[in-house]
Amino acid sequence: MRITSALAAAAILTLAAACGGGGGGGSSSAPNEPVKINFLSLAWQKESVAANKQLVDEWNKANPNIQVTYVQGSWDNVNDQLVTQFAGGTAPDVIHNDSPALSGFASDGYLLDLKDKLPAELKSDIPQSAWDTVTFDDGKGGQGVYGVPFLQESQVIIANKKLLDAAKVRIPTADDPWTWDEFSEAAKKMTKDGSYGVAWAMKSPVNKTLNLALNFGGTFFQTSGGKTTVKVGPEEREVLQRIHDQLYKDKSADPDALGQGTADPLPAFYKGKFAMLPAGVYLRQQVVEQAPDGFEWVTLPAPKGTSAQQGAVSQTLSIAQESEHPDEAMKFISFFLNGTNQAKLAKGDWLLPTSQKAAADPAMTTEENGWDVATASAKNLVVAPFLKVNGFDEWKSKVATPALQEYFANKITIDQAAAKLVEDGNKVLERYQR
């Protein structure tokens, strides 16, 4: 009975305390109180969360008049959360997201155009190709900058060193990557004794194939007379066809990995069921953490076609249009994303910093864990063409994902896949251009 009473009392006290939490985003401050800024962060890896918290603490100690509250969100549902918070007028001041999500929020007027607020040092430290990923129509006939890009992902190949050495193939370097032909030949050589040369995890095939399609100049979208349509010509088909060939013609790709998510094939990789896994650079973290003792692996650059270009999206920090303290928020972003701090954040997330100073940090260029290859691949990143397409998200989920999954499962031909991507895709895009 006592326990029950104590629990009830504790519950009432907690609830009463919570009543004092107040509503709204919590960013307004009394005249003599410090300015309060809410920072929604999506960091989730242990080292990355620690780096974020450390930087926020450093800022708060050095800036007693601008206090930042660290709020941890999740990639899985951040956009649902933001839609509601924007509509309700309680969005955080500083928002971590990725560049594909910014376009819609910017066109709805929820994000602040940072064009005239960016400090010169921050602006010059980040290359224009990265700024392009966050530059969108401002709805007034101009272009606005709706976030500061700070981490990018490129595709690399994570390879089993033992199987790679045994195949006696040329080891590609950042300066001299394999061509797609060499990559296919290497995969064929490594396919023997029940193991495959490569594994393509294609549960979510769209971003990966669209980004790699730029190797052959494949853009998948074209704009003419202000109208954007889908195109699947020879350039767009090239990478699709080559992956399909590895699966069904060369039989050098593990069919079991096809329906898997990015990290799912790793256990089979450690066991030597296949030699190479094309993946985003961040997957190296999982390999470091999970690989059995004695397992040797290397990071190889992605193959090149007519160029080594890859489409890039960026992780970004934006400021909510409704923020009461946009200047203070910008000061915090400038500190948070300076060269030194970007290196810490990139290391924590195993991604590539956009800051040129950060990219020169010794930690970003060491051979250990493939950082040299990963960082070098950043020079091939160009803004992903789909980033600026209004309606891309719907095209991706309703048209492209099922069409590409069927194609890679060999249920439809490349012509049928192309027809779906174009015909069904254009119907989707049309709705966004009325």
Partner: protein, 272 residues
């Protein structure tokens, strides 16, 4: 022999039900290397508590669990307090209004909540309830109430009117017969409804995500999701450890309350 088979079937069923929990426990005690084996192991080869250390070290799991407990307790008790008299009225008073009310309760279950989440958020904001646990309690009560009402109504219907009539013959008024005759017989129904409301609130994620923005008021489901990254990649060890700890309070709550889930209370009550 038949008895043995019955026990075998029972044990198999219990193992089937306990499987997710046992797997969670096994995963929580594994190293990242062991989690990545192609042949999964049941019993960790090198058990480790590091996942628990990471889970508790990185997130305020205890605080989040306490807040979830407070919200779930308040939401479930308030739900039962409101739905009990309403269920009695719906079960006992027949008429057009009653039918319309029951129909409306059912229709309200059809709406996907994502449709109303923005207007609901705005109402809460205007009431200054965003970012507060009472705000979340209000939302949970609102959304659990229709089904709780529907559940309890079935239990009230199962209590024979004759018992109330017998009480009336003995001189009891309506309130007295409800308090002394109907209410005790409804105990299993109340407990079942309480459990349903508690577990619904304890596990609820989407409303909590939208209503609670301040880290100091976040509930357990919001804390658990922080161990997941993009494209379904998750930190399985700390997630399993945290999820295991998250199931314990609801298991304890169930263990305490399940003794009240007795059936057959009314057996023979109206033999005649």
């Amino acid at each position: 022999m038949r008895r043995v088979l019955q026990y075998v079937a029972l044990v198999a069923y219990v193992v089937f039900l306990a499987f997710p929990l046992l797997w969670l426990l096994s995963t929580a005690l594994k190293t990242p290397q062991e989690m990545a084996l192609t042949e999964p192991t049941w019993i960790p080869r090198e058990p480790t508590l590091a996942n628990f250390g990471d889970a508790f070290g990185e997130q305020d799991l205890v605080g989040a669990a306490l807040r979830s407990l407070v919200v779930a307790l308040f939401a479930s008790v308030i739900t039962v307090l409101i739905s009990l008299p309403a269920a009695y009225a719906m079960a006992r008073y027949r008429g057009l209004l009653n039918k319309v009310a029951i129909g409306w309760v059912l229709v309200s279950q059809v709406f996907p909540f994502i449709l109303i989440i923005i207007p609901l958020f705005m109402i809460l904001r205007d009431l200054d309830l965003v970012n507060t646990l009472p705000g979340l309690v209000v939302v949970h009560v609102t959304f659990t109430l229709p089904f709780a009402l529907w559940m309890l109504q079935g239990y009230v219907r199962a209590v024979p009117r004759e018992l109330e009539e017998a009480a009336a013959v003995d001189g009891a008024g309506r309130l007295r017969s409800i308090a002394s005759v109907v209410a005790p017989l409804l105990a299993p129904g109340v407990v079942a409804t309480l459990l349903f409301s508690f577990i619904s609130s304890w596990n609820e994620f989407m409303f909590a995500l939208v209503v609670l923005q301040n880290p100091d008021v976040m509930t357990l489901p919001l804390t658990l999701v922080r161990f997941t990254g993009p494209e379904g990649v998750a930190r399985l060890g700390p997630l399993a450890a945290a999820s295991l700890m998250a199931t314990i309070p609801s298991l304890i709550f169930f263990a305490i309350i399940q003794r009240r889930l007795k059936s057959g209370l009314m057996a023979g009550a109206v033999k005649g």
